[in-house]
Symmetry: C2
Subunit: 408 residues, 2 copies
């Protein structure tokens, strides 16, 4: 049995090609299956995990490249927290040398834009305060594969995301300790400690991201993920966590945190990670990719490629609001024609975490398109259609993320 | 720097022995250090992990034997959930052959004492309902090392415990599906699927435990732990989870669940795991080791054996109520003379989970005895003194679990 994501736009795109349609095995039932004739990443020959992520669970992952590793849709499990070994990886540059972990507490971070700017070690940070917080970590490009215009970049499906528990010092506590903010900066800007290749304009490579200053309220500098010391793959020794904001804003190997009037001049801020309409040019006049929107997807049954038997089954998945808590999730097994409210199950880890949902259903033999749609506590509903944008960011279309299963 | 648990009773026991006192380095400061001249398990030569647990993180663990593996006090982390790789293991018998995992969904469990008794596969169970629940899993003998009479059995310190997220079918849903209970059974009895050696009385070895029937309300049959399929080390393919009850009651490799009028005739029920006073004989007239009592311990700073610097530090640890949620935790850095209320931090995973707590303190140079004391929402307070019992079960004395640190 094949399970593939629904992509009606691509189906339309391909509708002129009888060959492609035949290759995708679209039947007369009208039940949609993804009509992508290209090999699925999940099915392509497995690339090895890169050395810095060799400790991960290869069976749960799709290795797109040494710096882009995706969690399989079937590998999230039903325990709310994504195990570290299954969590996706996306690095904008190769990680620093592992030697930076020889003495984690000695790592230095410079704090600017406060009344008493200074450089602190991680060891010092650990005495200033401690909080533990669950957040959805999601790459800005998660779901890119479902854009019909095939934007460049990693062709993530659902798995450039996870729900993770961070421990560190709240940015608020740190700022208080340094006398408060200096003036009224507009942005909080984090700078990564990756080593930049020589001979190139640093601004073209530097991983430095600015987010609106108010994001500091719930942000933290984290040294631990899922109860273990941070790993190099995920930003050790110190990572900026900006709850509700896409992955790139959660700067790894953090060497500077500055409260600034302007956004970073780095390319990654000025022109990359912009929500640029299809007919426009990426640049600072386009919206930056910052906060996440309501999104959910089905993880079972059938995502593991195993045959689904007709009869009673429990459809389940994950749902999050981005900046607000999940209010409820509706599930459809007929591609969105009819909906039923799913139960939210498992512990609630807070508004920035995802919730699991489950709905018992009776599955008849044949093909079914499973989709889910989340609404947050502010009334924001997951959209049916993605916002098409040049680089394929923040796809949260419920239709794009459907799971086609074959029940026998 | 050495960090050792406080054990005043043992100190008294040893008070006649000048040699033992000198060996323990008790100074004139009056600050207690554990006066146990025996080698600490944590410091003894490392035994290798057994093959079925070879995937665990050896650095975080103390291997007492192939079937008893403890988490180091310094290895719990601050992220609420204990990672599977760090979680303790305690098997009453060697685990079954790993071949039982070749087809997890085919594993069978017999359900008795219901209106329509029958045998179900794990695959069927997965269609009946699903819940996710965090519980403290704690071996009945956790803290045994602090009993002054040196009871036989594994000399666990704090680390035969963890906070884990389980996914499975609620026992309630299963019983409903089978027509409800047959009559009014007094107990819920789970039977493990370990292979028993031939030629011995099965009752002397069978892992079969009975708990009061009302425990079924929150119990589940679990196939997943921490978002991953259960491992052989932790009871795969199916484990009975009885929230609030000590580890032994959470029967692994579950092959039968029966609602019964009598307790199991197995030795593990009849004479083992009884809270037998020092001057009595273990047997069915003594209380069975069932529910857990309020307990907490400090995990940092200093538990990792690293030097603690004078000045500001954040004392932290874990606390649980057993059957009720944590109300608050008090912390003392002077061995219980003065107390301050700690903050509960991190996500609350429900009343059967543990909470993390944190208290910022100023540590002066010298020795400090860090202790914590939890109170649950019903007003039950963690006791100062353990209940001395023959086999050294359920030690929840806050004094026994103190952490002595040397600040320089």
């Amino acid at each position: 049995m094949e399970t593939t994501p629904l992509n009606p736009s691509r189906r339309r795109l391909l509708a002129g090609s009888a060959g492609a349609l035949a290759a995708a095995g679209l039947g007369a039932t009208g039940i949609a299956r993804a009509a992508d004739p290209a090999p699925k990443p999940a099915a392509s020959a497995a690339k090895p995990l890169p050395p810095y992520a060799a400790w991960k669970d290869a069976d749960s992952l799709i290795v797109h490249s040494a710096n882009t590793i995706e969690t399989r849709r079937s590998a999230f499990g039903d325990g709310v927290v994504t195990p570290s070994r299954q969590l996706y990886v996306r690095n904008n540059l190769p990680p620093p040398d592992a030697a930076i972990l020889d003495d984690r507490d000695a790592w230095k971070v410079e704090i600017l834009g406060v009344k008493h700017p200074r450089t602190l070690t991680v060891g010092e940070l650990k005495t200033l305060g401690m909080e533990t917080l669950a957040t959805v970590l999601q790459c800005s490009g998660n779901g890119r594969r479902f854009f019909p215009h095939k934007p460049s970049g990693t062709q993530w499906e659902v798995g450039a995301a996870g729900c993770v528990i961070w421990t560190g010092v709240p940015v608020r506590a740190l700022v208080d300790y340094l006398g408060g903010l200096d003036g009224t900066p507009t942005y909080m800007t984090g700078t990564g400690g990756e080593v930049l290749p020589e001979g190139l304009d640093p601004k073209s490579l530097l991983v430095e991201r600015s987010v609106p200053r108010e994001a500091m309220q719930d942000a933290m500098l984290a040294w631990e993920m899922n109860s273990e010391p941070l790993t190099l793959a995920h930003g050790a020794p110190l990572r900026l966590i900006v709850p509700g904001y896409t992955g790139v804003n959660n700067v790894k190997y953090l060497k500077r945190l500055a409260f600034t009037v302007e956004q970073s001049p780095a390319k990654i801020q000025q022109t990359s990670y912009r929500l640029t309409p299809m007919d426009a040019k990426s640049g600072p006049d386009q919206p930056s990719v910052w906060t996440m929107e309501p999104k959910s997807w089905i993880t079972a049954p059938g995502a593991d490629g195993k045959a689904v038997k007709a009869g009673r089954a429990i459809v389940r998945g994950v749902a999050f609001g981005g900046m607000h808590a999940v209010k409820h999730v509706d599930v459809s097994i007929d591609g969105g024609k009819t909906w039923k409210r799913a139960a939210l199950i498992g512990p609630d880890l807070g508004k920035y975490a995802w919730r699991q949902f489950a709905l018992p259903v009776e599955l008849s033999a044949g093909q079914h398109m499973l989709v889910s749609r989340v609404e947050d506590t502010e009334g924001n509903v997951q959209v049916e259609k993605r916002f098409d944008n040049l680089r394929g960011y923040v796809n949260n279309s419920w239709r794009d993320h459907g799971l086609a299963i074959n029940v026998s």
